[in-house]
Amino acid sequence: MSGESHFIEFSKPFIDAAKNVFETMVFTKLETQKPIIKSDDLSRGDVSAVLGLSGELEKNGSKCHYKAMLVLSFPHETYFKVASAMLGETYTSYVSDIHDLGGEIVNMIMGNAKRDLKTMGYTSNMAIPSMIEGKSHSIKYPAGTQVVLIPFNSTHGPIYMELCYLEAD
């Protein structure tokens, strides 16, 4: 199987789900920018929500295991505006009230993407999302995975989605 070609089809449900989640609950449209292969482990934003997943891909009679990770990274300004839009209050600092918001957003994206992934032959088990906050924090990707960075523009500012994916027999 070609892990690289599956990575492209694997990414699409996450992009579609992110657009749906932001339009419905954050009241903003995401404009997808050109994806790039990431060669470092530094976050592009100041607040990152990280969600690991694993499962099996069954396609054309063959089966393999995969592991993947979804990261959604926001500059502070964007995160505060997203939180303000979703929660109906104005936030200007990273307070405990908005700590788990990023985790909830990646949960919703993953939950939505899961339905489309299933029709493509993927089963998926989600881990519990975790949050990282701080300027230029690093993200620990699963060993051996390639990371694709998908930037989005929104009325609240830039948002960065990262996906990594690895197939194993």
């Binding site: 419905t24 609950m25 985790g103 939950g111 339905r115």
Partner: protein
């Protein structure tokens, strides 16, 4: 709003931001008497306590995935309690899989809503439950 504004509602979700979003939406729809619990395990004694006080909850809005007692197990507790067999129970989930709907319907859920959702969709689901 055809329903009483002060209908006693319990919102159950382990994520504080989601509880806030749901409460905001319910307030936007016009409801005024909304309590919250951070897990099914926290919600269940509140539901039992409210019955003992003679002021039972009239509507439960619960997330499915919670660490201690899931929304599904909370629903099963509710349905197996005399007097609560028909308590309106709206289940919220992040997972859009059809299998979940079937499981929840079999357990006696009143309606089902998949995240993300708007206040308009929430109102529509509530209207269907109470019509």
């Amino acid at each position: 709003m055809a329903l009483k504004a002060d209908i006693k509602i319990l919102v159950v979700d382990d994520m504080s931001t989601m509880r806030k979003i749901i409460k905001n939406m319910l307030s936007q729809i016009g409801f005024t008497n909304i309590s919250e619990a951070d897990d099914g395990a926290t919600a269940w004694p509140m539901i039992e306590g409210a019955i003992k006080e003679g002021k039972p909850y009239e509507f439960i809005v619960s997330d499915w995935n919670m660490p201690q007692l899931s929304g599904l197990d909370l629903l099963k507790n509710v349905r197996s309690t005399p007097g609560l067999e028909k308590l309106p129970f709206l289940m919220i989930t992040a997972e859009a899989e059809q299998g979940n709907v079937v499981i929840a319907v079999k357990a006696g859920v009143s309606n089902f809503i998949v995240k993300p959702f708007s206040a308009a969709v929430l109102k529509e689901k509530i209207d269907r439950i109470f019509k």
